[in-house]
Amino acid sequence: MAGLATTLGSGAMTNAIGELLGAEVILIFGSNPTEAHPVIGAQIRQARKRGAKLIVVDPRVIDLAHEAEIHLKVKPGTNVALLNALMNVIITEDLLDKEYVENRTEGFDELWSVVKGYTPEKVGPICNLDPEDIKAVARLYASGDPASIVYCLGVTEHSTGTTGVMSIANLALLCGNVGKVSGGVNPLRGQNNVQGACDMGAMPTDFSGYQKVANPEVIAKFEKAWGVELSNKPGLTSPQVFDAIAEGDIRFLYIMGENPMVTDPNLHFVEEMLKKVEFLVVQDIFLNETTELADVVLPATCFAEKEGTFTNTERRVQRIRKAVSAPGESRHDWEIVSQVMERLGLKNNFTSAKEVMDEVASLTPSYGGYSYERLDREQPQWPCPDKDHPGTPTLHVGKFARGERAIFKPSEYKPSAELPTEDFPLILSTGRMLYHYHSTTMTGRTEGIMNIAGEAYVEISPEDAIKAGIADGDRVKVSSPRGEIEATARVTEKLSKGVIYMPMHWPDGAVNWLTSSHVDPITHTPEYKVCAAKVAKA
């Protein structure tokens, strides 16, 4: 998010999902939509049937790779080098949108000063790719008018994630694809309301609508509205919170609706910290691996039991509605939190979710036009500043969110923080699969799902499997410098030699016992996509 916020001024999908159908070229970079965002995957396939040309950049032969004009089976952790090489070709071969670069961007000379060193011939060996394929992708992407880039965690979950995102934005700007219908830079958000959680200010630096904690006017506005004194000191990100627990600086942690004991990297450290923190509150709908360490567990309602809104990956605010009664004494999350506030002498007087949205609208410019009455009729995309505003399907049309011009922010390629060693010769990359959601607390309760996808598995190339004496279906031990887990081997040509892949879902065989604590220095996103590992027969 920080990468796009810096270059364009807004860290969200620039275009609507439906606009994919109008793209001439779709570059799918580090995203596996037919599994992780299946209904977007289906629409990308529809676009292909209508003539769009697909390019896939992924270390695995994902399903869409079979339908792509070109698939670059890139080595994990080398995205920035590849993106620089693509731009190198586009500039060298004069395929850029000069008028757009001239009129709507700044920093082109700096961009060229960096990417000129990244010739396809030099980058090919870094990324484990044929330089001719890199050139072909650059030409195909540059030929698309419009061309859309769809990317996901394969770009962000690296210690160089932010530079990867900025490099993607550079590429799109270079070809004039930002601020154009059916073009754009489109990060697919993983969770149902991760966009909304960001929008609502569940971030250490921002109030709702990305109003900065560091801005005194913002502080003054919220102090007046809430009648309390607020801190202007930016808070800690979640990985920093764990570090602060280690230092003894954080003594109390309140977790609402997350299961870090499966989903966070390096679970050994997470477990130690959740045990160390003096007081842990967990608010959830099920007992899970994290509640096992909690001092208090508060029962919450799920989406089918409450009124509210989710904001999807394309910035569209949509309603959820109560369909069934809440089980037992469970209460809505906002209600529980309000009741804690009341006990702290912090009254907020909310009696319904609708009233919460009214306050959000009154204090959040990009959400100013929303109310439940309106959302029952239509679901506009933000920015939607007032009740008559139609919403904004395409961002940055005519003018960027950051101002008149977008800025090129070039980056040098830096290898991943943890590279294979003699003891751990493989790169372990993690991800998602179609049938499960995160830590399986929800999907794991449907029998049919578990019949199809009931246990942890590791994908390994035939070359590496032969070397380790592993056959398809064998139980294997997968280990990293942090630990060891067991899983079933799937020997597959989806992967290149030297790379193994594990979905992150199952608590039994949770791959996050192996992943490292390395994070991107700006966003603190963990490097889930690269750590050193080895596989042996169990």
Binding site: I17, N192, G196, A304, V360
Partner: protein
């Protein structure tokens, strides 16, 4: 724009509008079996025929665009007889074992047979169809109930774009099949269930649909709680339990869902759901009252804040809960005096 007169009512429609769409705009209901929004017009079932002045044959309204000055009649004896014959021909190849069919109450063929007064078919039932395929974990396929409207085939190929379903054989022997006559569980099917959602009869039914009749359920429009696409869908509820999910025509999903949205709803009514606050006592999470639990939380917040300042507290909100939940949570943390609030966007 074209001016059209339908059943004596005048309407102005945009160029390219089909007669069916124009009828919809006027609130005139036309029976359809193969027609489906978001699919290319098929025009194979012929149920939607109407009479157009100056044209000899009845016209299929789903695939015929309006022209300026068109005069349309949507019901008369000729049309009624034609549609009755369609229903009768379909019934000839349909296993009318309705007592054993979970589509009962939801079946378009049943509905039109009633509407057009077709009690039985005069034609011989000669069609041979393959045996049922109940191999999927989520749905059943009964070819004897199929009317070959091809909604499922087109949805699988044009919209889901998975290429699992196709037609096999010719003429009266035609049936919907999978490549190499595989079972669903052995095919490339991804269990999205979109074919099931569009089936107008009982040929494709969810396994769960045996447990409810369509008139027993209430439908609540909501947003899927899995990934970030934000698919719109209806929760089907019977006796305060979610018994099924149907896709809705929302902007992000246009009537499609995936296996998680369509079938992975059992967690909602799971007996494992938390129903009471729990406080750890002697190392064990023990049921407690809300007052007890909330006091315990608030007292500890106060204690830590008093002893170590507000920045000794931190909270994680969530990309799983609603905007309203996240907003109130961040309001609480900041009102306590700290900006240590984050969520799982990073992880």
């Amino acid at each position: 724009m074209h001016n059209v007169i339908i059943d004596g009512q005048s309407i102005e429609v945009e160029k390219g509008t089909t007669i069916l769409k124009a009828c919809e705009q006027l609130g005139i209901e036309i029976p359809t079996l193969c027609h489906l929004e978001h699919l290319a017009p098929e025009g194979s079932c012929r149920m939607c025929v109407v009479e157009v002045e100056g044209v000899q044959n009845l016209q299929i309204s789903c695939a015929t665009p309006c022209w300026d000055g068109m005069v349309v009649t949507t019901m008369n004896d000729r049309i009624r007889t034609f549609r009755s014959m369609i229903v009768e021909l379909l019934l000839a190849h349909h296993d009318v074992d309705c007592f054993n069919c979970s589509a009962v109450g939801d079946c378009k063929l049943y509905q039109y047979a009633m509407e057009y007064g077709v009690e039985e078919s005069r034609f011989d039932h000669i069609k041979k169809v393959p045996v049922k395929d109940e191999s999927s974990d989520f749905f059943n396929y009964d070819p004897s109930k199929c009317i070959l409207c091809r909604r499922c085939v087109r949805t699988c190929n044009e919209l889901q774009s998975n290429g699992t379903l196709s037609l096999k054989k010719r003429g009266g022997d035609t049936f919907v099949s999978l490549p190499f006559d595989k079972l669903f569980k052995d095919s490339n099917c991804v269990s999205c269930g979109n074919c099931v959602s569009v089936c107008p009869t009982g040929a494709l039914t969810t396994k769960a649909s045996k447990t409810y009749r369509s008139w027993e359920v209430t439908r609540t429009r909501t947003t899927c709680s899995y990934c970030g696409v934000g698919c719109q869908m209806d929760l089907l509820v019977k006796n305060d339990k979610v018994v099924g999910v149907e896709p809705a025509d929302g902007a992000p999903n246009k009537n499609l869902l995936c296996v998680k949205g369509k079938f992975a709803y059992n967690f909602i009514n799971s007996p494992d759901r938390l129903t009471t606050p729990l406080i750890r006592k002697d190392g064990v999470l023990t049921p407690a009252s809300w007052d007890e639990a909330l006091d315990f939380v608030a007292d500890n917040i106060k204690k830590v804040k008093d002893e170590s300042g507000p920045d000794a507290l931190a909270g994680f909100a969530s990309g799983r809960v609603s905007n309203e939940d996240n907003y109130v949570f961040m309001k609480m943390m900041r009102s306590i005096g700290t900006n240590n609030v984050d969520h799982c966007a990073r992880v």
